[in-house]
């Protein structure tokens, strides 16, 4: 029995991305194609997204030109592959305030957004620091904050304080303080609807960028696999590792159940197809009531 369908939807990608940007220490490894994705959850009468990507309005086109980001498509186009319109989305979980996760807010007029209060509060103090510390505000777009503010004016922005269960049935939110960002959030889906679920899926945001963050070869220290954090963090690598361990406990150490959104091999691991726009769609799990969209 599965309550939710979970699909990972690629909306853009960048080519020849240094692996060391996603896996700390991977300096000698081949560059990778890095997808940009958001995750679609459908079930219990809800259409929810984990993150919303970024928009090509404003800076977006510049990003494409300067960072080799290719094949960006709007949410309308991407979601249409699943028979969904942006207006159908009623809930958005924002894992963190980086531009490629929180940039496309205006495209979802009917959604309520959830983000950790700590994520927002800590950016406030960081923005007031001198220019020589500007590294700490990397990837944070003031326009995203303005978007959040405007959402709050209509009651559509919910600031979460720590862990929260059953935001919508079976979906829980978790805080990973001082990790990838100050208030990064990850999402767990108890897909059998039980409290002590044996069917949990984790949407990790950027706490886990690639499989190597969880399944890194550990032969050097005589273990099969080990955790290896991603390179970009304004918090601590320790907290990323601890968050990964918390996720793994929930999935009974089945790493396959932790879903990274910047991992191109995700589309080999799960049933997938390529859309007519050349973007990939992975079907992580299908709810009992739904038909496959990748077959």
């Amino acid at each position: 029995m599965a309550d939710y369908s979970i699909h990972v939807l690629e909306y853009a990608r960048t080519l020849n991305y240094p692996k060391a940007g996603l896996v700390y220490g991977a300096f000698d490894e081949e560059p990778v194609t890095m997808p940009y994705c958001y995750v679609l959850l459908r079930g219990h009468g809800h259409v929810a997204l984990v993150d919303v990507g970024y928009s090509h309005k404003g800076h977006g086109q510049h990003l494409a030109e300067k960072y080799n980001i290719v094949n960006w498509r709007s949410p309308r186009v991407v979601l249409a592959e699943c028979g969904i319109r942006p207006e159908d989305v009623d809930t958005v979980f924002v894992t963190h305030a980086h531009f490629d996760h929180f940039g496309n807010v205006e495209d979802f007029p009917n959604a309520t957004f959830y983000i950790q209060r700590e994520e927002v509060e800590r950016w406030h103090s960081t923005l007031s620091l001198p220019d020589r510390m500007r590294w700490m505000t990397a990837s944070l777009d003031p326009a995203s904050i303005l978007n959040a503010l405007e959402l709050s004016m209509t009651g559509r922005m919910k600031l979460i304080e720590g862990a929260l269960e059953d935001v919508i049935p079976g979906i829980d939110l978790h805080l990973a303080r001082d990790s990838h960002t100050y208030g990064s959030m990850w999402v767990s889906v108890r897909n059998d609807g039980t409290e002590a679920s044996k069917d949990v899926w984790i949407l990790a945001g950027d706490l886990v960028n690639q499989f190597d963050n969880i399944e890194r070869d550990g032969s050097l220290i005589d273990v099969e696999t080990m955790y290896n954090p991603g390179a970009q963090t304004v918090g601590s690598f320790t907290n990323i590792i601890l968050a990964i361990e918390e996720m793994m406990k929930l999935v009974d150490y089945d790493s396959r159940r932790i879903i990274p959104v910047h991992e191109g091999r995700l589309f080999d691991r799960f049933p997938s197809r390529t859309s007519k726009e050349g973007l990939q769609i992975a079907e992580v799990v299908l709810a009992d009531t739904m038909s496959s969209i990748v077959d």
Partner: protein, 189 residues
């Protein structure tokens, strides 16, 4: 138009409103000397531009966090308040002291409007506590709208080709593939 909530009428206009008496944009720099003057201006205006961008983000965060909070950050958090005003004063002074080539008069004028807008918004935030009910007030909404206008103005004079953007791309998570920007010969700012 009458004044509302302490904002001058000009602050309520959108960036593209014809009521704003912005200097006309002129053609590209033309001569090498003019090009050099323009590049110098862009280099020198960058700190003020980035400061204004950060201030907009900061102020938006204050407004986002304020409903339900029991205090006004600008009155009780002296360090943060003073920093914000100091940043704004520095940015204002930098803009005032800049040598502005003809090709940049429109750009410079817009930035000055942005500083004035932020000045008024911060002044209003400092006049007393933002309403602390669970629902946003008219004052809150007006401040939000004015902040959005200020951001749109700032973004309207972004020059991505030389890295002058409201969003710092140079340290973004995809910046490993960053290409160093250059100003096109015929760039119109």
């Amino acid at each position: 138009m009458t004044q509302m909530d302490g904002c001058s009428p000009q602050r309520l206009h959108q960036i593209d409103c014809k009521a704003l008496t912005a200097p006309e944009r002129v053609g590209g720099p033309g001569s090498p000397d003019a090009h050099e003057a323009l590049m110098r201006y862009i280099s020198l205006v960058e700190p003020a531009y980035q400061s204004l961008s950060a201030l907009i983000g900061q102020t938006a965060l204050v407004l986002l966090l304020s409903p339900g909070q029991p205090h006004d950050w600008l009155q009780t958090d002296n360090v943060t308040r003073n920093l914000a005003w100091a940043v704004l004063r520095d940015a204002t002074a930098q803009l005032r002291d800049l040598s502005v080539p003809e090709a940049a008069t429109h750009h410079h004028w817009i930035l000055q409007q942005v500083t004035q807008s932020i000045n008024e918004i911060l002044t209003q935030l400092g006049d007393g506590p933002v309403q602390h009910n669970s629902e946003p007030t008219t004052s809150h909404q007006n401040l939000t709208r004015n902040l959005r206008n200020a951001h749109d103005m700032l973004q309207s004079v972004a020059i991505p080709s030389v890295g002058l953007t409201t969003f710092d791309f140079t340290q973004a998570c995809c910046s490993c593939n960053f290409h160093k920007p250059v100003l096109a010969d015929h760039a119109l700012i």
